[in-house]
Structure formats: C-alpha cells, structure tokens
Symmetry: D2
Subunit: 289 residues, 4 copies
Amino acid sequence: MDEKSSPIITALIQGKDTKGIIATITSWIFDNSGNIVYLDQHTDPVEDMFFMRIRWDMDGFQVPREELDEEFGRVCWRLGMAHRLFFSDKRMRVAIMVSKQGHCLLDLLYRWRSQQLEIDLPCIISNHDELKDMAGYYNIPFHHLPVTRETKPEQEKKAMDILRKEKVDTIVLARYMQILTPKLVNAYRNSIINIHHSFLPAFIGADPYLQAFKRGVKIIGATSHYVTEELDQGPIIYQDVVPVTHRDNVETLKRKGEDIEKMVLARSVAMHVENRVLIHNGKTVIFGG
Amino acid sequence: MDEKSSPIITALIQGKDTKGIIATITSWIFDNSGNIVYLDQHTDPVEDMFFMRIRWDMDGFQVPREELDEEFGRVCWRLGMAHRLFFSDKRMRVAIMVSKQGHCLLDLLYRWRSQQLEIDLPCIISNHDELKDMAGYYNIPFHHLPVTRETKPEQEKKAMDILRKEKVDTIVLARYMQILTPKLVNAYRNSIINIHHSFLPAFIGADPYLQAFKRGVKIIGATSHYVTEELDQGPIIYQDVVPVTHRDNVETLKRKGEDIEKMVLARSVAMHVENRVLIHNGKTVIFGG
Amino acid sequence: MDEKSSPIITALIQGKDTKGIIATITSWIFDNSGNIVYLDQHTDPVEDMFFMRIRWDMDGFQVPREELDEEFGRVCWRLGMAHRLFFSDKRMRVAIMVSKQGHCLLDLLYRWRSQQLEIDLPCIISNHDELKDMAGYYNIPFHHLPVTRETKPEQEKKAMDILRKEKVDTIVLARYMQILTPKLVNAYRNSIINIHHSFLPAFIGADPYLQAFKRGVKIIGATSHYVTEELDQGPIIYQDVVPVTHRDNVETLKRKGEDIEKMVLARSVAMHVENRVLIHNGKTVIFGG
Amino acid sequence: MDEKSSPIITALIQGKDTKGIIATITSWIFDNSGNIVYLDQHTDPVEDMFFMRIRWDMDGFQVPREELDEEFGRVCWRLGMAHRLFFSDKRMRVAIMVSKQGHCLLDLLYRWRSQQLEIDLPCIISNHDELKDMAGYYNIPFHHLPVTRETKPEQEKKAMDILRKEKVDTIVLARYMQILTPKLVNAYRNSIINIHHSFLPAFIGADPYLQAFKRGVKIIGATSHYVTEELDQGPIIYQDVVPVTHRDNVETLKRKGEDIEKMVLARSVAMHVENRVLIHNGKTVIFGG
C-alpha cells in the first residue's frame, strides 16, 4: 500500500481532553509541509479523554525522520498528550503462539504470505509439535517448548529469550491453550492478542463450546482481546457471532466457531498492526481503516 | 394462512427415542385419510430424546375433531411419547405485560393488527400507565396494576384473575421490569416469554447496557427466553446481536438494543404461537416455519 | 442530546483535495475560541476529493451566529471547498410520503415521538387514505392526494405547495409507491430518501420480493438511497439483509423484508438528519455518529 | 461421524406431491427394521412438489445393501417419486478447479485434512501453476492445463479424461476464472459448484468488486451456485454478505470479499457432500444438517 519512497507516519495520541489539540497538531504538521492523509479522533465525555489517529506523508516533510519523535513529542507534551509514532516502512514483528489446533495459524500465515497482513513473522512458538509442518511449509522458524506445571516458568523464560532475540513487538495467541505468567504479560503489556472462543463476557474460561451447548444459546461467538493478568478480562478488540440451532452438538459448535475465531483474530491483528487501536481504562478505541 | 374451512392440526410430540415413531404416527394419519403438510423431527443423541412437529389437513380426516386428542393420544402413549395438539382455527390468547417502554409493545401490536401475528390479544397489564394510550389506540383493554414491594402479591393476584378470566394461554413480557413471583411463573410454566436486553448468559440482571458499556464489548444483543424461577436462566428461544463501537454510550447502546429487542421478541412470539417450540432440559428445540 | 444553551455547529465540507485543509479549518475554529467536539474526514484518492465533517461548540465562540456562514464560507472558499453549516438547535423539517403499507411510517413516528429522531414532522402526504388514522394518533397533518396517471402532475403540484408552505427540507418516501416527477426530484435534490425493498442493484423496479422468490436467493435485503431521476439508481445510504430459505414464499419474504425495510430507512433518516452524509459522483460518504 | 460398522443411508426423494408419501416410506423402513435417524421434508405448494431427505441406520436392516436401490426405488416409483441413495461409508469424490487465487482452495484443503469435509480429493486442475505448491503440500495430484481461446476445447477434454479416470462425482470451482463449455457442464449437471464473488443476481459477470465499488453499495456478498449453461444463473446454494463503507477501495473490497467467498463455498460444498441439497426448477431446497 505504502510503496512510495517516502513513508507515511501514523501518530496515536491520547490524554485528557482540552481545547485546541487538533488545531495545534494539524497546524504543526501543515507548517512543516506535511500532507495529512488521514485523521480520526474520539472524545470520551465520560472519561473526559481525547484520542486521535493522524497520518501524514513524509514526502517533503521538514522535520527529519530521526528528530521526528522528539519534535512531535514536544508538541504533544505541551498539550498533555501521550503519543506514539509508526512509520509505514517499518513492519511490526509478530510472534505467533499456538497449541494443537491450526485453523487460526493457517489463516494468519496465508494472509501474511498473500501480503494482506504486512508484518514480519520471525517465529512460531508452540507447546506441542503438531503444527511444525505447517510452519515449515511457510518457512517460519518453529520453536517447540512443551510445558508442564513444573517446566512452565523455565519454558516461558526460553520463549521470552526468543521473543527478545527476534525483537518481537506483538504476540498473537492463535489458540494457545496455556495461561501466560504475569511476567510475560507485563513484558508485552497491550501487545498480546488472544482469541477466546466465546462472545465474552459469556463463557469465560475453559470449554466455552461445551458451556454454550449446555446453556442452549442460539448464537455462539468469538472475541479477540489484549491479554491482561485477569483471565479473559482484557480490553476487547473485536467480536463476531454465528447462529446455531438445537441440531448443533459440541462438535459442530466447534467447527462453526472455528470459522469466526480465525476471522475475528485476523481482523484484530490487522487493526493492531495498522496502529488503529488505542487502549484506555480496560477498553479499546478502534479507528477506521 | 389457514383460511380453508377445514383446519390444519399441529401435533408436538416428545419422549425417549425408540424405533418406529415416525412410521407409526405417519401411518396412523395416512390410514385415517390425513394429508401431512409438514413434518420435522429432531433426535438428541446425548439425551436420547425424540422430538417431532407434524401437521396435517383435517379435510376428510376420519377421526372426528372431538375424539382426536384421545385417539392420537393413545397412539403416542403406546410409543411412550408426550403430545399436544393445536388447531389452526383456534388462536392462542396472549396477554402482554409492560412497564414504561413501548417499543416492544408497539411492535407486537402492529404485527397483530396487520395479521402477521395470528393471536387474540385480550389484555395488556402494566405496573405503570404510560402506555395506556397506545393500548387504547389499538382497542386493547389496559389494566393498570402499580406494584410496590408491599402490594406485589396482591397486585399479581389481580393480574392472575384477569389472565384466568380472559383464558390467557401465553404471557409476553414486553419489557416488564418486575420479577414475577414463583406462583405466577408456575401457573404459566413454559408459557411466559421474556425479552432480556443482552445476549445471555452475558450481563444477567439489571442494567445490561450499562454493564456492556463498562466491559467495552463490540456487540450487544437481545435474548428471548421462557421464564423460570431462576432469573434469566430459562430456555432460550431466540437471540440476535448488533455491532457497536467505542463511540457508543449507554444511551445509544439502548437505542440500538431496542431495535433488536423488539425483533427478537416478535420472532420468538411467532415461533411460540405457531407451535414450533419444544422444551427439554432447559433448552429449546425450534422447528422451521 | 445538545441541550445546552449554546448550540453545536456541524460543518460539512467537500472539494478537490489540497494540503492544509484540516490545519486551516481547525486553526480558524481554535483561533475563534471554538471547542472541536468531533472531526472525521475522508480522502478519496481515485477522485482526488476531500470530505470532512467537523463539529464545534458555539459556547464562547467569537464569530457571532449571524456572521458564521459568511466567515466560515470565506475560509472554505479560499481552500476551494464547498460547505454547509447546521446548528444543533435547528431541527430539520421532514415530510413523509406513504401509500398503503404502514410499517415504515409507524416506525418513524415512534422514533420521532420517543425523540430518537430529532426532527420536525409537519406533514404526511399519501396517495391513499389507509394511514390517515395512524397519522391522526400522532397528531401529524395528513394530506390525502390520490394520484392517477392523469392527475399526477396536478396532485404533485399540490404536494409541492404543501412542502413549500411547511418549509420542508427533507422528504422521506416510506414505501410511497409512485415514481416522482423530475420536477419534484430536482427541487429536493439529495434530499429525498427512498427505501427500496431489495439489496440494490439486484431486483430493480417492481415486485422485488417476487423477483427474489423466482430467483431462489438465500438472502433478501433492503436499500435506502437518495432519489434521482433514474429509478433506483441514486446514491445508496444504507443496506441490510436477512437470510431466507426454500420454505419462504412471497408472503413470508415480504414480512421478513418489512423488518429490515423499516430498520434501514430509520437508520438512513438518522444519518441524514444528523448531517452525516456527503454525496459525490453518485455515491455517499457516511461519517460515524 | 458415522464411524459404526454399519453405515447410515441417506435418501433424497422428490416428485409431485401426493397423499401418503411419508407414511409409505417410513413404514417400509420400519417394516424392514430400519431406525430412522433423520427426516426432513418440504412441500412446495406453488409447484405442487414434495421433497424429502430421510436417513436410517443399516444396522439390522433387512434389505441387503446390494438390493437396496432396487427395492427402495420400487417403493418410490409407485409414489411417482424420483430418488437417490447415499451410503455414509462411501465418500464423494471431488475435483477442485482453480486459477491463481488460493484462498478458497486452501480453505477447502484445510477442512479436508482436518476431516471437517469428509470427501475424497483425487485431483486439482488449474489453468495456471501458481497453486501447484499448495496442492503439493497437501499431496493432491495437480494437473496444469493452461487454456487459451484456441486450446480450450482440447484442454477441457483432457480435464474430462482426468475427471472420468478419477471417478469424480462433484467439481468445485474454487475461483476458476474460465467459463466451462456446455459439454462439461452437461456431463456434470447439478454437480459443479461455483463461487461467484457477488450477491447474485447483482453484479453478474466480470469484476463484480469493481462494479460494486462504482455503484457505491454498502454491503458486498458472495454466492455459491450450481453451474448451468447460462452464466451465473444456476440454482443458488448459499449466500453471505459483509458490510463495507466509503473507505473501501476495490482492493479492500476484494480482501473482505475473499473472507466470505471461502466461507460460502466451504459451507455449500458441505451441504452438497452431505446430500442436503435438492434442485427443482432452477432453485434449491437445502435441508438442515
């Protein structure tokens, strides 16, 4: 998409709402010869918070790339706003963690290879080895780190070494059936995306399809969210559902669910890597694509 | 729909699964010169239960109407099956209970008047009087029975007197914001339909839109279910959802929710009065229309 | 919503894309002490067009209301942008035209009375009198203007007199089964909203449910669009669909369709009266609420 | 699913409606000690046609497998009904034809390998070689038959030789961008499933996403249908849609469309291979799973 020589900047900004934020920032960009190609903002009157996503073209921009973060940061600081900058020519580095089920992994790999997902994929980590072949077909290094209650801290430490070595920004749990330790969760705060196979907050925890079957619901769902220390309580990114009937058993619920799991996960990974997600107070602000 | 002189019979049958149920029943109908116009069945292998809905034309049927229940009942009894019969020329008598919000009531009234819902509507009961005019416009008797903690048993008794006098089969709680007493619930077992403004089992109890707002979900829903003694735990009839975003506040969630509440309630009332719903073990079997 | 003493301004802006539009406009607002409460924009790279919706609070704004259009217009003019301004304390005046079917009309009336739709409703015009009572219940003047091929020009002239007298901004065709003359269409360019009972461009013209039945589609839809001289070819505002099956006949398709017709129409009327729609080249840009 | 030693029979029956069909057939099964595990039927009052899908267990069934078709056929013949029988231990043999885009193929291959789709996959035929590797990874023979206007009849003859040699029942066009000749279409009447990337009948023919973009629709869709001689006019099996906005360009429409194309195709292939589809008069009857 952004195949020009000069990259596009994406800035995310958030903080207490105050007058003049948009004017100040857009004027600063304009005064430095930037061409704004996208702006979306959201004001939360309950929290009195302001959120903005703004993108501009670096072509002819008068602030050099290496000074940009400092200069832009100063503007934001004066407004009391936190900020982050992303360059379109620098891809996010994403690690995928999986267990045995491959539907979400395969879906991500296909989108990655067909360049729908513009990310780097330096590694796949699994507590099983069923999906080693799939990773191999796509030439992604596959790290098999089996986990027992005893070996968990040790194996997760190995995982963290890999993540660090590979300069991973974002971890996608593509049906990884282990609960991460607080240590890992905190090291990748707001950067670990999980897919839960229910429409949260319904059916938290294990076996949501069995729970759904027992309750006799007429829709099942899937929810992607950022991982926090509390199980299935993190900020929700995206959700979708599919209708089911009395004819469905746990097995067919699983199959129908898989189709939305992979879709919901893929869409939320796209939202995340396109820097369209802001997080505040346990909830997400998702800007349009 | 069934405007011929001879009515259509709808039979609902359920019981432990056994060989020959369909053959026995369809042969009995055929041997008595009945023309089957609909048959749907469901076998639940987990519960080992059999469910069937079958409809046939009374035109030329050799068992007289007044003997039908006994004769058909004998056939079902031998198969170990429970049964119920409904005649297309006999409408269900439905009472609607409401509080202040009229969107569900108005929707039901419109469908009733335009004959989409083929029911009798002998009364509307409310603990408030806001919707008296609406009932008046449609010429439905409106009973205002205000409820306080103290007067609840007494007022509900009055309600039950009205229901009995009006020969009501089915009660629709079209956003009635009072919890019914076990006495009323038991008197109309499997015959009270409630609309809950969330996708159950998420957000049970009060203020589901506020709960949804706080959790930051990306879809909200509505659920219709039969009322049981446990709050919001009855068999689910129908559910639907609508996507929401970070821009929604509690007020806009309510508005978006109202649109699906009335749709979900109307559809489940139609399913019920068309005798398409069977209940077993806290869950529903819903046959196609 | 905007119940403060000082209103909110909504500005719609569109024109050829150029550098500095957002900066110029937001700075002008900021320099005049306006507090921006909403901004969304869209750049169409194919058409090289820029579209913006921006809202700010008039509280303490230094340009007096009566000079606002001229002052703001000058800013836009220099950028080569067309503009329109709307004040939150001035409601749109909407006329509804209907024929015999009342589901869309009733839905709009309910939303109007419950203040979900913040509009003035000075008149309902119909070529039949079936819905006179419904209008009466809501105390809206009802004009019965029966139309034959011969009387059409004359009757439409009467309709236009009423619309002019009532200072109507927007006409909603809530299942009005007559084709408007070019004269009326041109007089209310981009201001007449129609609901078509199919997912356009499928099933243009008469009897879309019959067409859908014959084709054996598995979904049916509804489409709202602005009326242009070419039948069913105007800019699409909103669409929705509902699944159907082989069990549906033309009659049940109609019923299922009605439910989405009224929803689609209501949502698009809301989009229009909230000034969220821009039109360019036969297509709409719809900004978020 | 049907992993017992004795298979399940699925019978599809259709013909002019008459009294006693269900009774006759279910009694015949019962009298021969068959246990009916599924029955669904549909009566089309417009066409006066009867359709039935019935499944029973061969365990202890008194008609030997090799005589079943003749015996059951005799029962159907007397009722004036056409019939087909399928045994759960005999898988359909499906050939997939593709061009360059792999999303539908990959989805089918994954479902096949994970045994969600219980079919044999003896060959993939393509007019390009881009997807050879993907076929290779799943160990499916890949036949590259490039097609030009001149070579089309000759290459299609080769394809038909392969199909015949591999005893293929069903052909799935998983985004095969060539129009088949009438010869091939007729040889596999009602057995070639195509995915068209629009909600038919909208946007028939080439480049439906470009057509959708130009028209400015707010939903796009995908349609699976049986291939007939008339382009995109065959009986529709399944359709689904996804909402889009003014922000979408042709490229993003394609991506969003791909997600529903593969889902719609996979579901309709499942419906077909589970023998749930009956065809009459250019339309399908789809029985529940």
